[in-house]
């Protein structure tokens, strides 16, 4: 079992293009999809569960945007195309998550630190 359980993103590829993910304070959230539950109570004191499917993917991934190779344009084009693309995310532990995802939310670069907080979602995002 790997002793490394946290740390930097070692590699992120989106549709074959490798992106630099900022290190240091990066804290990417990975979501495997599946179901999420909501519990509520009835008037007679019994409880019931509402179970809904949720998307898989990741969020809060700080990409270091390279303008010389048009990273920002590449990501916006992916969003514009509206199609799922292959994504691989390798963690510090060497574990890789893979899935067909699409960018979610606004694609915007912060010029102060040169990063873009990326969120991508899809039906599955699983270890390979």
């Amino acid at each position: 079992m790997s002793g490394v359980r946290a740390g930097d993103i070692r590699q992120l590829t989106i549709k074959g293009r490798e992106f630099d993910v900022k290190g240091e304070d990066a804290n990417v959230n990975i979501d495997l999809g599946g179901y999420q539950n909501e519990a509520a109570i009835n008037g007679n004191g019994t409880a019931y569960i509402t179970q809904r499917r949720k998307l898989a993917g990741f969020s809060d991934c700080p990409l270091s945007i390279d303008e010389s190779r048009k990273d920002l344009e590449f990501l916006q084009e992916l969003a514009d195309a509206g199609e799922f693309v292959p994504v691989n995310l390798t963690l510090a532990s060497g574990v890789t998550y893979s899935g067909s995802l699409i960018p979610i939310g606004e694609i915007k670069k912060a010029t102060g630190d040169g990063t873009l907080a990326l969120e991508m979602r899809g039906a599955r995002f699983e270890q390979i």
Binding site: R10, Q11, T13, I14, K15, G16, R17, E18, R69, P86, N88, L89, T90, L91, G94, V95, T96, S98, E126, Q127, I128
Partner: protein, 137 residues
């Protein structure tokens, strides 16, 4: 073939020479003698082939990788790295040559094989991959 090889030595040599020549290298050059030998063994097993259309070299793995999602990675295709891809070499220290090669090979798969998968490649397959990477730097 009664020697356990699937491809005749001369046919395998021809395929390896074709790969070298395709990427503008001299098959007779001593600079590529070592990688050529490693590629030749794989070619004799029928595991190495050039796809001129996609300009890639495909290696059928001796030891396929069973992925965590139940799928199996049985082969990998490598393309010529771009200058931008080669920049990853600069990120690693001199004592990180293996990590450097793995990262470069990942880029040569056009992102289809991430680092985490390449790290599970067995040594015999990795030796051939290393030979393929050597063609470009």
């Amino acid at each position: 073939m009664d020697n356990g090889k699937k491809v005749a030595p001369e046919v395998a040599a021809e395929e390896v020479n074709r790969i070298l020549a395709f990427f503008g290298l001299d098959p007779a050059s001593k600079d590529f003698a070592e990688p050529r030998t490693k590629m030749l063994r794989a070619a004799e097993d029928g595991r190495l082939m050039l796809d001129e259309e996609t300009q890639s070299v495909t290696l059928i793995l001796l030891c396929p990788i069973v992925l965590e999602n139940g799928k199996t990675c049985a082969e990998m295709s490598f393309i010529e790295p771009s200058a931008g891809d080669l920049k990853v070499i600069d990120r690693y220290k001199d004592n990180e040559s293996m990590a450097r090669t793995i990262h470069l090979l990942s880029k040569m798969t056009d992102g289809s094989s991430p680092i985490g998968v390449l790290e599970r490649v067995k040594a015999r397959d990795f030796a051939v991959m290393g030979a393929i990477a050597q063609l470009f730097f």
